[in-house]
């Protein structure tokens, strides 16, 4: 009998490009650096606020430029994709949720998460207005 010579196929660098499921996964993961970017922009604002009115004014004026506004529009889109993809994967991370003796479907859990997000964002908008 001939000796065995198993062939190991290495994973290709573009492994994720051929499958739409993997493309969505990579898009989901790629939101992370942008979440960090926004956190740093917010942090910069806090630092400017701590430095005084002049620094704060400069910060606001910078945010009013087309470049920074366009970036924030992009960030809103990216954060929204994060919201959808987060609650889409959430059912996978939970033990069965039993309501009225029946197990909740994954879609119901995702829907509940998205509803909660909508509510929280609406409350934030109101509180941000109320705080002013």
């Amino acid at each position: 009998m001939a000796a065995r010579r198993p062939y190991v196929r290495p994973m290709q660098p573009g492994w994720w490009r051929r499958n739409p499921y993997f493309v969505r996964y990579m898009a989901r993961e790629a939101t992370a650096p942008f979440v960090a970017l926004y956190a740093l922009i917010l942090l910069a604002g806090l630092v400017c606020l701590a430095e005084g009115p002049e620094a704060w004014r400069a910060y606001i004026e910078a945010l009013q430029s087309r470049g920074w506004l366009a970036l924030h529009v992009l960030l809103v889109g990216i954060f929204t994709y994060h919201t959808f993809s987060w609650f889409a994967i959430m059912p996978k991370t939970l033990p069965p949720v039993i309501v009225d003796g029946r197990r909740l479907e994954a879609g119901a859990i995702t829907g509940a998460g998205l509803a909660a997000a909508t509510l929280c964002m609406w409350i934030l908008w109101i509180v941000a207005g109320g705080a002013a």
Binding site: M26, P33, V35, L43
Partner: protein
């Protein structure tokens, strides 16, 4: 027995940051990055130094801003680090320090800034 992983600590922060950013992130970005500078709606008033300062000085405001900045950074650090190899980058010690180092630094600076704005 295999060595126990210490990922749970960072994974918990990843989860908390991911949940917070999923629940409020998009709106927060809109408020601070679009409504505030453009003066849209009531949040537009936050562009005024006094009003922004009042928020940062309030206890709930401090808490929220700290948690948002810090947890967003820890979430991003963990996810970025663990996705590097998916993009073909072998993650080593340098990558680890870069990813989580930014989160730690940001957390400390946020603490400092929120202390410096006063009470």
């Amino acid at each position: 027995m295999s060595k126990r992983s210490n990922q749970p600590f960072f994974w918990a922060l990843f989860g908390a940051g991911g949940m917070l950013s999923a629940l409020v992130g998009a709106m927060l970005v809109f408020i601070t990055g679009i409504a505030m500078p453009l003066g849209i709606g009531a949040p537009g008033d936050l562009a005024a130094y006094d009003r922004a300062l009042a928020v940062a000085r309030s206890v709930p405001g401090k808490l929220f801003l700290f948690v948002a900045v810090s947890l967003f950074l820890w979430h991003a650090a963990h996810r970025t680090y663990h996705t590097l190899h998916d993009f073909g980058i072998k993650p080593g010690a340098i990558a680890w320090v870069c990813c989580y180092g930014v989160a730690l630094a940001g957390t400390l600076v946020a603490l400092g800034a929120l202390f410096a704005v006063g009470f």
